[in-house]
Symmetry: C2
Subunit: 341 residues, 2 copies
DNA sequence: ATTGGCACTCGACTGCGTGGAGTGCTATCC
DNA sequence: GGATAGCACTCCACGCAGTCGAGTGCCAAT
């Protein structure tokens, strides 16, 4: 084993101890609790090098060492092994999620479950409208001058919008339109809808074309509305439990950030770019002041590769990364399975 | 002014000062900051009486007094005057809510607004399915053996449910059924639907009756599902701001309670029984351990009397009751107006 | 009934001394 | 040259005593 390797072992040991005890860890404790095979003095030399490299710091002169953001990053990138969940745990996840009666229920159960498993804050993004496909479009006349447009996606999501029309509806026309729309559009990704609708306009009678234009406008608007992308959060109480120890002042900024859908959605979108099974953002990597002392661990679910949406956990820098990553990955997998079925 | 009256004045002064300063208030400070017209010694006598009556306590021997739950209760029942909001504030509420594009948006804006106004946690209950009325029912065939049932309420809420059928759909039958259902059911309160549907069964052909039965079952089930009653929460970060001072240990239990829909719904339902414009629950009156150090201020909206749902604020015992009550009442009124229009 | 005076209590704050954990440096060993 | 042992040094945490001040309760006087 090269001395470089041992240094990383020391880093791993520091992180493991610090995560477990929440206290700066010194060279003596380290040599006693881990079988590193070298004396405290040697460890001190390694620590000096690690500190030089910016992976650990001392809170003050005569204290032990604490990992930095960079240290944790090194740890998750090179040192951590995702430890698989126990069989009973997997059984519990599977059983709980399978009892769900609809999409809302699945999401609700998943987010609570993940909060419980990780003992942290859990976040689950609703399956994205933009990336899922269309199963069915329904046009429902409501009174003479209102038309309800219902969009059903392959992920079981239903969006509706009521249109106010300038002239009375021709029911027969609506019925024809409904058939044409479904024939032309079923199976398309929602992002492709507006273009497809436009090309339909050409083939239709003037009255139908006018109606389709209104529908196009409504659908486009619905899709454009970022607010349709929702993230649900659970387990915020888990933040409070260790608040004083883990956050410099209060958890206020964290709670604020978690209530801002926009912040969460941006972060989740960024993490989807990683194209790894489980993505991690540590401290300032989140690019948000309120989250500078938290880490995000997320995974895509509900499709190939990055998936159509994300699920994850949020906790203090000092979190059990391997355990959290395992739990997140497991829940993402079961979610994918349930939604596909 | 009788001595009894003065005692209540002293109580009011204590609460006002304590709310403002967050520190136990003594007799000297009281006589200086309020024009009570008597000496500190007299105030001390009154304080002794108030303490005897259980309205205030001293944290320790040589400290000032702090109001008890009972003290606050006395205050809101007999002493507080709801101070109306300023015109700019009202304008802001009105403007913000009127920009909303749909029900979800209204609720979302309302809850954020109220959190901001009160600087506390805000809760808004979705208009209850049980108490609102039906505007339209739509039956949408999806493929040969699936039927989508869409329920639209007068409060703009849309619920849907997909039914799986044992035999192929007869589209003409569905169309007839759709007309019959809407003719018979429009305007009914949702709670009355199941009975009305049952009586419809008698008038229909055997095939139609079978289909109606399935629909009845689905609708009943949907209505029975308590989970359809949702409460949204915002501003939890406001709890953290004063956490150390206002809560004996952590805000954990409070956050837990706020995540439990069941807890909130029970409490809101209880408060609706008060039949007052604004209902208040102080500390242990909430009947929930996690909320023993918080107060709820809520008001009904969206209908006559208790209304179809509630909106409110949650904060520490030591809150600005008059201000909170004013804000809650105002938001409830504007919500009612918006939803009626 | 109200007030002024007074003794008393108790927490908050301050300063001081001690113990201990942990480090960095240097000389030494293999 | 890397690993180790020894040692002096630093600095925080903790306990303790003393002081200060706010506030009370009670009593005698008005």
């Amino acid at each position: 084993m090269s001395s470089e390797d041992r240094r990383l072992d020391v880093l791993r040991a520091i992180i493991e101890d610090y995560v477990a005890t929440r206290e700066p860890v010194g060279s003596r404790a380290l040599s006693e609790r881990h079988r590193l095979g070298v004396s405290p003095a040697t460890i001190r030399n390694d620590m000096a090098a690690l500190e030089e490299a910016g992976l650990i710091v001392q809170p003050h002169t005569s204290a032990g060492r604490v990992p930095t953001d960079m240290g944790y990053r090194q740890f998750v990138d090179r040192l951590a092994e995702v430890k698989p969940l126990s069989l009973p745990e997997r059984r519990a996840i599977s059983a709980l999620l399978e009892q769900a009666v609809d999409l809302d229920d699945v999401i609700d159960r998943a987010v609570r479950l993940l909060a419980q498993l990780t003992q942290q804050v859990a976040v689950v993004q609703y399956p994205s409208l933009r990336r899922s496909s269309l199963r069915h479009v329904e046009l429902v006349p409501v009174g003479a001058r209102h038309l309800l447009v219902v969009i059903i996606t392959t992920t079981g999501r239903v969006e509706q919008r009521t249109l106010e029309l300038t002239e009375d509806l021709d029911e027969a026309l609506v019925a024809r339109l409904r058939m044409r729309l479904n024939a032309a559009l079923s199976g398309l990704r929602l992002a492709e809808l507006p273009t497809a609708l436009e090309s339909l306009v050409a083939e239709l009678s003037p009255a139908g074309a006018a109606l389709v234009r209104v529908i196009v406008a409504a659908v486009s608007e619905t899709l454009a509305q970022e607010s349709e992308e929702r993230v649900v959060v659970a387990g915020t109480a888990n933040l409070a439990r260790t608040a004083g120890a883990d956050f410099s002042r209060t958890i206020g900024p964290v709670l604020e950030a978690l209530e801002e859908q926009v912040v969460l959605l941006r972060l989740l979108a960024e993490m989807a770019e990683d194209h790894t099974a489980v993505a991690v953002r540590i401290g300032r990597e989140t690019q948000h002041a309120g989250l500078a002392e938290t880490s995000f661990v997320t995974s895509g679910y509900g499709g190939e590769g990055p998936g159509v949406a994300r699920v994850g956990a949020v906790g203090p820098l000092r979190m059990d990364y391997p355990g959290t990553m395992a739990a997140v990955r497991a829940v993402a997998r079961y979610l994918t399975r349930i939604l596909a079925g």
